[in-house]
């Protein structure tokens, strides 16, 4: 999977490495901004209130 990605990216190895890092950062940002906040609503350890 990652080998295929590496082969798919254009340019010399340093450019590919840079692109990989960029993709990684984008993935991280999407996770922190959207995916994790959504996921945390389903986690049981954040409740602080009493009641149902």
């Amino acid at each position: 999977m990652y080998a295929a990605l590496w082969n798919f990216l254009p340019g010399p190895p340093w450019a590919r490495a840079l692109l990989c890092a960029g993709l990684g950062i984008i993935l991280l940002a999407v996770c922190f901004e959207y995916v994790f906040p959504w996921l945390s609503d389903y986690m049981p350890f954040n409740d602080t209130t009493v009641g149902e």
Binding site: S40, F45, N46, T48, T49, V50, E52
Partner: protein, 237 residues
Amino acid sequence: MVAGVVGVFGELLVTVGVLLGLFVVWQLWWTDVEGARAQDQIVADMGWEEPEDEGPEVAVATEHREDPPVPDAPPSGETFAQLYVPRWGEDYLKPIAEGTDKATVLDTIGIGHYEGTGMPGELGNFATAAHRTTYGKPYNKVHELKQQDALVVRTEDTWYVYKVTESEIVLPENIEVISPVPGIKPGEPLPELTERYITLTTCHPMFSAAERYIVYGTLDYWAPVSEGTPKELLEEG
């Protein structure tokens, strides 16, 4: 071919593992960084005149023990008060908003006031909730509170100085902790209200939701903000 499939499967597993690790980093660290910053900004945006807390000229608020002014309950999600807790550091200051909705109040503003419970200064119980870990963790050091520690609630014009009376650990369904007289279960007859309580509820143990840590206090005195700063908030010496 089989080796290829297994290889991709392995890479997927590694990726999921890394993402789960990142989720933990986000939940335990990043929400806290973001939450603390957002809560400081909310306090700043409220724009209330800061109390003087040092210098020789500082006015110490007179302790009023007659019936205090009671604010009207604000609409859900509105920030209407601030909490100072000297035991948690002289810089401790967090906003309090109406309601205990997780997304709009507890995760973002900080401390939530259970809707329908008493307002600050009211006969009954001013009941609040906040995170103990993550999201700015307003009630992180709740276990450090001792009897007679001050819990100072401020509305724009009034100080309400509560003193801690006791704490306990209960199960999440024990809603009698936020009853107008703590401990009176739903359905039981309420005695005549004579005391002004405050209740803090948060999770226990830390990083779990199995139980709730509860701290109770009662109103000691109140004072108009214009008359000075409560002595509990003044710096020592």
